[in-house]
Structure formats: structure tokens, C-alpha cells
């Protein structure tokens, strides 16, 4: 399973986020250094709503922000892409990369009082395999003996630890699964929703809010957390407000302490409020990009693809449209992917209208029609782009309009349809498009496998470009076959070079994630997929 779209994060992929600049707050523990953390208080967060509180049953949409403090995972991944012990006190990976043995920590209990032991972990992993086919991790078998859980894989699969660290793979009390129906678990509530995390559910009103209270028994924080023991906050009130401007208004008027999903247009306004700070991180994953369909004319010709890449002033448009909330992208992985982003590609192409025109002439698109668009064999050079509604936003729409004008200047007719996901799905299946624009969110470089490996076309993944490149397949397979950090970085760097050289993708903008936070709130972190981190280390200064 691969996540895509700005709100999406897959269970297979890994994430790590980097701080955009030192002017902004860096995670974790930087703010905590100024002051001694204080216990107590209620944190009020305005955010999006998770549909189902049982993450394995429901879709993964919006679950991370709201649910990650309720459920614990086997291992924890820090922003530099390294793994730390959590419910697994230690683990071993066999030489052939096929067997993972996790030693489960003693003394952990779920919110309903039942023990979280190796058997409970096995039960949860088995459910993940049965219901979700383990994302797309090639899991063969899961077994438990004493305090060790052993997972056997069919083939080597390097993102496995990352998958296990994702918020969507938090463990639920097996007793609660036997006791309550799917429906009751999805609706959730105190007693029903039984994780083992630092907070437990105090109440839930669907469509309105989810209130969490501190789990006073908590003593099994991940090794990379800023502190150990209980959480600082007494309560976390998550209030669900869909409308961007209302969430921003709520923190500005002090009715809430944190707003997620801050739109670019509100940035200046928030900066002008003395009681607020703006936290910003770059979204790990694949930048907002053009996937170019190479299965048919005209984008099967690398000269046309190259002409598109140099034929518009992408970087200039970004400053004008994104209001400082995005940076120009050159590599297929955003700079926030610590494990793999290739910085050598920065500024590796620049706007060159003359070169673009020459390339198009050379490719045979030298005549123009009455409207000034290029034609070849009586056919106009029209590029039909698709984006799905959840993948686009005001800035991207505006940017695409700017591109349309820029492309028209070199004689290319660019049409972009933003359609609902179902309609987009149908057009992907019918191969009825030239360009797909979206971004993919997850810090695991193996995202590139789903987006470019030759067999990963839309029927199972997101190779919208129908890319079929032996060298690229080789690099991506290398990255998948080893958990060795240096070897993986080398493999994904090679892959990004090939993607750039053959123009399989035009990366456009590295998106950022914005939070508006009251200055009294300390210890806010970002998670590995660019989302707001757990509320475990968060505290309120008086």
C-alpha cells in the first residue's frame, strides 16, 4: 500500500522530517531546554477528524494526528531515520534480511488492564496481515514464544521497521477486539478504545470532538522521547473543525492552543499575533510533481519532457504563488527525507525558453496552428493533466494556471482537470491522461518504488508514468533488499539521478506543514510523516 495526496501516509512507507530553518522550532526537546517542563493542564487542539478509532478496520485518513497518543508501536523512528526501542526492548534482523525477532518489554498494560505481551503483539500483527494484507509488506508468518515475536518475510523488505513504527500500526487490546463489535470499536469511547499509550479516551462525540486523559500507569515511552514516565498534560481536547479559516480564528482568539492544517494565506496573519508561534516543517516524501505519461505520444519523447522542464520558470512561480510555504523542488525526494534525498540535484536545471523551443522543433513539433500552438501530423501539442480534488489546493490551482500561460508561450496547450477521486481513478485505468500532479507524503525513500518501478502501475501502485527502466528498477530493488543505511542511501541517490536524467518526473514544489501554536505550549514535535507528533512530551508553561 502506498500513500499519496497531501493528507495521506501509507503504512508501508517511512518518514522523517527535517526542520526547514533554524528560525523555526526544531523537534524534539529544543524548546524544553529553555525551561523545566511543568505537569498539568489541558491542551486544546483544533484539527481534522479520524473516521474510525480502530485504525486497522477503518481507513487511515486523519488518524495519525488524533490517535497516535492512544496507541503504542513496536519501535519508534526519529526524524533522522533511525530506530529506537519502544514496546520492543530490542530486535534482531537475520543475515538474509528475512527474519525479524522482537523482544517485548515487560510490564506493559493496555488501558483495559490486560497485559501487552508477545501474544498480544502477535495477535495485532496477524490482524494487520489478515485485514490489510500487512500493507504490502511481504509477511509470511508471525509467531510468538515467551517474550519474543518473530516475523518471517517472503522477500527482503527494507521499510519493514518503518512500517511497524507508523502511527497506524498502534496496538489494540485483543480483549477489546473480542468483546466489542467492529462498529463499537470504530465509534470508540472510554473503555472501548483500549490502546496502551500515554493518553486514553475520555469521551468521543463523532463530528465534534475526542477528549483524551492521561494514562497514569504509563511507564514505557520510546527511547527517543524527551522524557520518561507519565505524560505532562492532564487532558488533550481534540476539536474537529473542517474549515481552515475557522481553525485559524480559533487559535487567534485563544479558544484553542494548536491548529493543524494552516493554509498559506493565514501565515502573515498568524505571525502578526504576539501570543502565537508558527511551527513549520518540510513534508517528507515526493514533492508536488508532474508524473509524465511515457506510454504514448507526445511525452514518450524525452525531448518533449525536457522542453517542459526548462520551458517554464518553476522556481519564480513558487515564490509568487506559495507565499513562502514551499521551496522549489529538483529531486524526486524532498529534502526532509534524510535517508536518501539527493542534494546534488539542486538547481540542476534552469528556465530556458529558447532551449525548450529548440527541443520541441527538434522533436518534430515545429509548425503552429492559428492559435499559436504547435502541431505535428495535424495534431496539436495538447497535454491533458489530471489531479484529484483531495490532492490539490488553492495554491496548486493557481500555480497550474501560471504554468498554463508559460507553456502556451512555448506553444504547448496544457489543460488540467481537477476531478473527484473516483473519476480520476477511471481515467487512470483508461490511460486517458498525459500528466498527473500530486505529492506523496512519507519519509521512506522506498516511496520511489511504488511511483517508478516498472510493474507498479495504477492497478497496484502509482507508477502513473508507465516508467519502464532497467537501471531504475535495479536501483530501487537494491534499496529494498538491504537495511544497511549507507547502501540504501546510495541506491536511492542513484535512482533520483536516473529519474532526473530521463525526466521521468518534474518535481515542482517541496510542500511544508504548518502549525499555529500558542506560545505557552512547549515540546511540540513533528512526526516522521510531517504530521504533528505525539502529545506525550508536550507541556504548558504557566
Amino acid at each position: 500500500m502506498v500513500g499519496f495526496g497531501s493528507a495521506a501516509v501509507s503504512t508501508r512507507m517511512a518518514g522523517l522530517a527535517l526542520c526547514l530553518s533554524s528560525a523555526f522550532f526544531c523537534a524534539p526537546g529544543v524548546a524544553a531546554a529553555q525551561d523545566k517542563p511543568q505537569a498539568g493542564g489541558t491542551l486544546r487542539v483544533v484539527t481534522y477528524e479520524p473516521l474510525c478509532l480502530d485504525q486497522i478496520e477503518g481507513t487511515s485518513r486523519n488518524t495519525q494526528t488524533a490517535l497516535q497518543s492512544i496507541y503504542d508501536r513496536l519501535v519508534s523512528e526519529s526524524l533522522d531515520g533511525k530506530f529506537h526501542s519502544w514496546l520492543a526492548s530490542e530486535w534482531a534482523i537475520s543475515e538474509d534480511q528475512l527474519t525479524y525477532a522482537f523482544t517485548i518489554r515487560d510490564g506493559v498494560t493496555f488501558h483495559d488492564g490486560t497485559p501487552l505481551n508477545a501474544e498480544a503483539v502477535r495477535f495485532n500483527l496477524q490482524r494487520w496481515l489478515d485485514v490489510k494484507k500487512a500493507g504490502s509488506a511481504p509477511v509470511e508468518s508471525i509467531s510468538s514464544k515467551d517474550n519474543v515475536v518473530t516475523v518471517k518475510l517472503r522477500t527482503a523488505y527494507s521499510p519493514f521497521l518503518h512500517d511497524l513504527s507508523e502511527p497506524t500500526l498502534g496496538f489494540i487490546s485483543p480483549a477489546s477486539i473480542q468483546k466489542y463489535s467492529k462498529e463499537e470499536r470504530c465509534a470508540g469511547g472510554p473503555g472501548v478504545t483500549a490502546g496502551s499509550g500515554p493518553f486514553k479516551v475520555a469521551s468521543r462525540t463523532p463530528g465534534r470532538d475526542l477528549v483524551l486523559e492521561r494514562n497514569d500507569n504509563y511507564n514505557w515511552a520510546p527511547a527517543d522521547a524527551a522524557h520518561q514516565g507519565k505524560a505532562y498534560l492532564d487532558r488533550v481536547e481534540l476539536r474537529f473543525l473542517k474549515e481552515d479559516s475557522v481553525r485559524v480564528g480559533a487559535v487567534e482568539s485563544n479558544q484553542a492552543d494548536i491548529a493543524t492544517g494552516v493554509p498559506a494565506i493565514s501565515v502573515e496573519d498568524i505571525k502578526s499575533k504576539t501570543h502565537l508561534k508558527l511551527l513549520q516543517t518540510q513534508q517528507p516524501g515526493i514533492p508536488w510533481s508532474f508524473w509524465l505519461n511515457q506510454s504514448k505520444s507526445p511525452l514518450d519523447d524525452v525531448r518533449v519532457r525536457e522542453a517542459l522542464r526548462v520551458g517554464a520558470d518553476y522556481a519564480g512561480l513558487i515564490d509568487a504563488v506559495f507565499l513562502g510555504t514551499a521551496t522549489p523542488a529538483y529531486a524526486a525526494l524532498t529534502p526532509a527525507v534524510a535517508l536518501g534525498h539527493d542534494p546534488s540535484l539542486e538547481k540542476s536545471w534552469t528556465f530556458d525558453e529558447k532551449k525548450a523551443k529548440a527541443l520541441l522543433d527538434e522533436a518534430g513539433w515545429s509548425k503552429t496552428d492559428s492559435q499559436g500552438f504547435r502541431v505535428k501530423d495535424g495534431k496539436r501539442l495538447t497535454l491533458r493533466g489530471i489531479s484529484a480534488t483531495p490532492w490539490s489546493n488553492q495554491q496548486r490551482d493557481l500555480y497550474a494556471q501560471g504554468l498554463k500561460a508559460a507553456f502556451a508561450a512555448i506553444g504547448v496547450d496544457y489543460v488540467r482537470d481537477v476531478i473527484d477521486f473516483g473519476s480520476a481513478d477511471a481515467r487512470f485505468k483508461a490511460n486517458d491522461y498525459d500528466i498527473v500532479d500530486t505529492s506523496q507524503a512519507a519519509g521512506e525513500p522506498n516511496l520511489l518504488y511504488g511511483a517508478f518501478y516498472s510493474t507498479e502501475t495504477w492497478d497496484k501502485n502509482t507508477n502513473w508514468g508507465f516508467v519502464k527502466d532497467k537501471d531504475l528498477d535495479g536501483a530501487l530493488a537494491d534499496g529494498l533488499a538491504t537495511t544497511d543505511r549507507e547502501k540504501r542511501i546510495a541506491a536511492y541517490t542513484a535512482a533520483q539521478k536516473i529519474i532526473a536524467e530521463k525526466v521521468y518526473l518534474i518535481p515542482i514544489a517541496n510542500p511544508t506543514v504548518l502549525l499555529a501554536v500558542n506560545k505557552k505550549v512547549q515540546g511540540v514535535t513533528f512526526g516522521t510523516s510531517g504530521q504533528i507528533g505525539s502529545y506525550y512530551d508536550v507541556w504548558l508553561s504557566k
Partner: protein, 311 residues
């Protein structure tokens, strides 16, 4: 006797409307280009072919359309609206848990709008005063401004700026004020325009002159004699609006982050959660059918002439 027979016919006609609505909705949703499996699994992820097949079998999507239709009708008759693709909860329980909040909002808004519109027409009809001009402008403004914008404006001033009514915290009636005002304003515009028009006409009737010659005060003339004439359009518009608000207060619910049918309608349509969409279509059809019957009964109460002709 007559009423009972008429009611029976109405109920049968209503059932036919429901069946037609269900079938039409089923047909239209078959034409949807989306693959339900994608919806069930989550629109933000791609699905392996094996999992796809498993989900299709699970939800009966692998059977022929005709069979799915029969199954669908049979379930409805038994009162089972199916299970949500996304929430994995039964549609009945989803609608049940949201209905209360929407009913509260819709009935308070319509009630407030009726009271405001009655007052406005009592005070201003038949007169050419500055008050009438001012009220007409407000009506025009409320009719032509999207509820979304009214909501944001009210929030900006009454919640963000002056902090009178909360949008985040739940403080009982205080949390209800702004959403109710938003919807009521939107309904008030058209209701008030029509009612005043009707009262203007009534005030020119001979019976009003008779009443005046009997020495009744202007207020009594309006209150006792003219207002009754505005009730028929008032009933028509407000029942229709009320029905519309059940699934149609989407924007208001979204702006104020309130639970309710509008929110789940939007969510279900966006995510192509077909069972939920169907459930809501049926509910709205049912509510309109019922409201029409209720409105007919109310007409008889409001207008004695209808009782005479029916007898």
C-alpha cells in the same frame, strides 16, 4: 372519513415516491465512475488485486447488478440500510447518531426565521417607511449572501473578535446561537419577502376595510385578520426549507464543526460511501413525503375554506 381516505392515498403515494427515489439513487450510483473497493480501503491508498477481490466478495459487489438491486430493496423493506464503506458502522446507527443535532439546528432555525418574518411583515407591510426599506435591504442581502459567508462573518465578529459565543468549547445554548442565527438569516430573507407580499395583498381586501370600520386598531387588524393570510405560504416555505435543511445544512455544519447529517452527507459524497449516500437519499425522501402530508393538514387548520371544500 374523507380525511382518513385521503391520508391513506397519500401514504401509498409516499411509498411509491420512496421506491422511486431509492431506485433512481441506485441507478445513478451505478453510473459513478468510482470503484467502491477503493473507497472501502481508503481513497488515499492503492490496493493489491487479491485484497480487491476479497473486499468485492465481502460487500457483494461481485454479484450482477440486478441481484444487487433486489438485495438492496429487500434490505430496505426490512429496515436495513447497509453498512458504511468507510466507517464500518450500520447506516441506521450513523444517521441515528447525527439526526438529533441536525433536528435541533433545523427546527430552531426555521422557528426563529418564522418569528422574525412574522414580526417583519406585521410591522412593515402596507407601509412605506424607512423601517420597511431597511428590512427589505436586509432580506435582499440575506437571500443573496451564501450561508457560508454569513457564518464566517458572524464567527469573525461574535466569536473571534468579541468572544461572546464559543466555536471550540461546547457551552450548551451559547454554542447554538451562531449556527442557528446563520441558518435563520438565510431562511428569513425569502420567507419574509413572500409573507409581506401576501399581507400587502390581504390588507387591500374588503374584509380588512370592514374590520377597520368596526373600529379595530391597526395592530388588531394585522394580527387577527391579515396574518392568517400569510400562513399558507409560510407553511409551504418553512416545511420545504425544513426538509431541505436536514441534509442541506452542510455548509453551516462544516463552518461551525457541528455533528449532523449535512456533514456526513458531504463526507459520504466526497468519499463515494454509497450505502450512506443511499440512506440519506431515502431519509430525505421520507422526510419530504411526511412533511407534505403534514403541510396539507396544516393548510386545513390555517385556512377554513379548505375544510369546507373538502367536506
Amino acid at each position: 372519513m374523507h380525511i382518513a381516505r385521503e391520508l391513506l392515498i397519500r401514504i401509498f403515494a409516499g411509498a411509491a415516491v420512496l421506491w422511486a427515489a431509492a431506485s433512481l439513487a441506485f441507478a445513478i450510483l451505478q453510473l459513478f465512475p468510482s470503484d467502491p473497493v477503493q473507497v472501502i480501503y481508503g481513497a488515499d491508498s492503492s490496493v493489491t488485486p487479491e485484497l480487491r477481490a476479497a473486499i468485492r466478495a465481502d460487500f457483494g459487489l461481485d454479484r450482477p447488478v440486478w441481484e444487487q438491486y433486489q438485495h438492496f430493496l429487500a434490505r430496505i423493506v426490512q429496515g436495513d440500510l447497509g453498512t458504511s464503506y468507510q466507517q464500518r458502522r450500520s447506516v441506521i446507527s450513523i444517521i441515528g447518531s447525527e439526526l438529533g443535532s441536525t433536528l435541533t439546528l433545523a427546527s430552531l432555525s426555521v422557528l426563529l426565521a418564522i418569528v422574525m418574518a412574522c414580526l417583519a411583515s406585521l410591522v412593515t407591510s402596507g407601509r412605506r417607511t424607512w423601517l420597511r426599506k431597511a428590512l427589505s435591504s436586509i432580506e435582499l442581502l440575506s437571500v443573496s449572501t451564501p450561508a457560508f459567508w454569513i457564518g464566517i462573518l458572524l464567527l469573525t465578529f461574535f466569536s473571534f473578535k468579541w468572544q461572546l459565543f464559543p466555536v471550540v468549547a461546547d457551552e450548551g445554548w451559547r454554542s447554538l446561537v451562531l449556527p442557528v442565527a446563520t441558518l435563520a438569516l438565510a431562511v428569513f430573507g425569502s420567507l419574509s419577502q413572500v409573507m409581506r407580499e401576501e399581507m400587502d395583498l390581504a390588507l387591500e381586501q374588503p374584509f380588512i376595510l370592514t374590520a377597520r370600520t368596526r373600529g379595530l386598531s391597526e395592530w388588531a387588524v394585522r394580527w387577527r385578520h391579515a396574518l392568517g393570510h400569510t400562513l399558507i405560504p409560510c407553511i409551504t416555505i418553512s416545511t420545504e426549507t425544513f426538509g431541505g435543511l436536514l441534509a442541506g445544512s452542510i455548509i453551516t455544519e462544516q463552518v461551525f464543526g457541528r455533528p449532523g447529517l449535512g456533514r456526513i452527507t458531504l463526507e459520504a459524497i466526497n468519499n463515494h460511501d454509497i450505502p450512506v449516500v443511499m440512506g440519506i437519499v431515502l431519509l430525505v425522501a421520507f422526510v419530504f413525503v411526511t412533511l407534505n402530508i403534514v403541510a396539507d393538514l396544516l393548510y386545513r387548520l390555517a385556512d377554513p375554506r379548505l375544510r369546507v371544500s373538502a367536506a
